[in-house]
Amino acid sequence: MLVDRRALLAGAGAILAAGLGSRAAASLATSEVLILAPAMRADGSFAVMVLGERGDRIREIALPARGHDIAVHRETGRAVAFARRPGTFAVAFDVHARSAPEVFVARPDRHFFGHGAYSADGRLLFATENDFAAGTGVIGIYDATNGYARLGEFPTRGIGTHEAILLPDGKTLAIANGGIETTPEYGREELNIATMDPSIAFVDLDGHLIAQHRLPARYHQLSIRHMAVGADGKIWFGTQWAGDPLATPSLVGRATQESGLELVATPETELNEMRRYVGAMAASRDGTLISASAPRGGYVVHFSAETGRYVGRTPIADSSGVTGYGERSVLASNGEGLMAELGADGAENLLTSLPGVAFDNHLRAIAG
């Protein structure tokens, strides 16, 4: 994988990294991993920061306002940064800086929820969007080969849709319907806490529903937001509790298309200290380590995909971004400009600390 990228770089060096300084171009050419992190910069403006494996700053792609997550397609180098909800912009860029970024916007009667995924061949982009007049989620379909022209949409089968991921079969999207309705007329006000109905829907790429699963009714205020796939193909999901502030439901669970959803037990103290809120989910590259960021508690909490159990946690204030990094490690970022590689055994490797920079909710790392 890493060798492939070097070969590609050697062959295409001339057109690579147009417009970058020589040091940034060198970093871009030699880094085995590129880190893509939406952030607020010291001057209060927003950008996607592109960092090398040593945490070196390679370039920044300006965003018109606060971003959220980035969809990435490794083979084509395509990436799209989405606006934080209820934002309406998306900024498409080439990971290797071979072309200028381009901005596209949601339909006037939709806004982005902040997440999306590419098809296996990288030609289509699926974005989670709010049909706010109807109050339901949709997946907007965009043509990545044609300026991200919007080709159509299909329903997510839920309200307050958040992350959607393409499963390893390349044919199925798993869609987290958080269950919380919002409408841009009222900003981020939550409209239906009493009647929330979160779910994970499995659909094919034409939008046909394959399966849809819910937690038991007593957890209907557990908003299912983020997902990562473990080594055995099980989906690990992270939730945010909108119910009684003194209740301590498990916040992380596992899902399969066939058997539905189950919550994973977390020790009581550690669970309570997650403060009822998971901000992002990630799996290490080999899929054995599953990590959930808990920004309100100030931790990244780790689980084993092999045993299905809690294994430990790393204290990181205002943690949030977490993404697969090494074979058995994840990369975590926080709102105070820190980025660190974490292992389940408590191993930590600080990549960078950027005073004044606030890394946003999600980040992605892409191997060459």
Binding site: Y186, N272, L350, A358
Partner: protein, 373 residues
């Protein structure tokens, strides 16, 4: 890929809450907060005793008066009693503005917040269900506690507002009230009183939210430190400012004159929308004042306190000159511009508290932990 593995203990200092570097202000001066855990404890205690307890007591008194006045009016409807109901309704709107930015505590339990005031009701659930109730005249709805099992949209202030003020059949008009509608209003007002009772009780005593927020520690399920409890107080101010601006004022102002719509503001049916927004501004200023949050800043930064006073008085000044009726204010360019100005001042206030007060007080509301995504 992990090349240099530092030991867990060694790196802890780098990524634990105590940040690795001293934050800098916009002017490039290092920010060195002086507030201690004891200072946070004092401000939280002041917020509870000087604000939360009196504010929830006010809500309790207002809803008690409201339930009594509606019941009295419906028992023997006389035109003279209309003003008592109007007065009690307005007091309840003001008392609600005094607590509805406190999105934690007993009001956040058992769905009390939504049940007391479900807003915005973008799908018109409350109006639709109440129409259904009025058609079915189902007496079972009037039994004590029965409404608590119904949709949150029919249980609280907006539902009562529509029964009292909305349409040809509204109760507070010269024609004699329709008995079932009146009885339903009594049930809604009683339900609100029950919720307000529970909220007040939840703040009183050792095992209450006052106990939780004033006694942080490792076994406290919500607050580990006084700084965390203090952050809850700060977040309430930030939430309150954002709520008034985005969900009340800007919602009504829309994207421009043609898009403005008074009905998007709460309590517009009773013509209380501007009264409610002014009451919210007043409540936020009082909360900031009596808690003493600005006293957490180092002496060298005391001018931020003056800035807050200045902005709050700008806000209240603008809101005082918009008339009483939201619809009329939105239709009049001069009055509408005052509302737009109020929205701008609210933004300045939010920046002031988030970017200056928070950091100089040594508090970190969190870029991502406040994010809600």
């Amino acid at each position: 890929m992990i090349r240099i593995l530092l030991s867990f203990a060694a790196i802890l200092g780098l990524i634990a809450p105590a940040a690795a570097q001293t934050p800098m202000s916009g002017e490039g001066t290092p920010i060195i907060p002086t507030a201690t855990e004891a200072d946070y404890a004092r401000v939280v205690e002041q917020a509870v005793t000087r604000y939360m307890l009196p504010a929830y007591t006010s809500l309790n008194e207002a809803t008690t008066e409201l339930a009594a006045s509606v019941a009295d009016f419906c028992a023997t409807p006389e035109p003279a009693k209309v003003s008592a109901v109007r007065h009690a309704f307005q007091s309840t709107v003001a008392a609600w503005a005094g607590v509805d930015f406190l999105r934690f505590g007993p009001m956040a339990q058992d769905g009390r917040y939504e049940r007391f005031a479900f807003f915005p009701d973008v799908h018109g659930t409350g109006a639709r269900q109440i129409r259904g109730f009025l058609v079915s005249q189902d007496e079972a709805l009037l039994k004590p506690g029965a409404l608590a099992g119904q949709s949150v949209a029919v249980q609280g202030l907006p539902a009562l507002e529509s029964l009292l003020f909305l349409g040809r059949e509204s109760l507070l008009q010269p024609a004699p009230p329709e008995p079932f509608r009146c009885a339903l209003a009594v049930a809604v007002a009683k339900n609100m009183q029950t919720i307000a009772d529970e909220a007040l009780a939840g703040w009183q005593g050792d095992k209450s939210w006052a106990g939780l927020i004033e006694n942080p520690g490792p076994d406290n399920p919500v607050y580990r430190t006084h700084a965390e409890a203090m952050t809850e107080v700060l977040k309430a101010i930030l939430t309150g400012i954002e709520q008034v601006r985005d969900q009340r004022l800007t919602a009504a102002l829309g994207n421009g004159p043609d898009d403005a719509k008074a009905s998007r503001a709460p309590y517009n049916v009773s013509r209380q929308a501007l009264f409610y927004i002014a009451a919210s501004a007043d409540a936020l200023q009082r909360f900031a004042d009596v808690s003493g949050i600005l006293g957490l800043l180092p002496d060298s930064q005391a001018s931020y306190g003056n800035s807050a006073d200045f902005e709050f008085s700008n806000l209240k000044g603008a809101l005082a000159k918009t008339g009483a009726d939201m619809e009329a204010a939105l239709a009049d360019p001069q009055l509408r511009s005052r509302l737009s100005y109020a929205a701008i001042v609210l933004q300045s206030l939010r920046d002031l508290f988030q970017r200056h007060v928070a950091v100089w007080a040594g508090l970190s509301p969190g870029f991502n932990s406040m994010d809600g995504d």
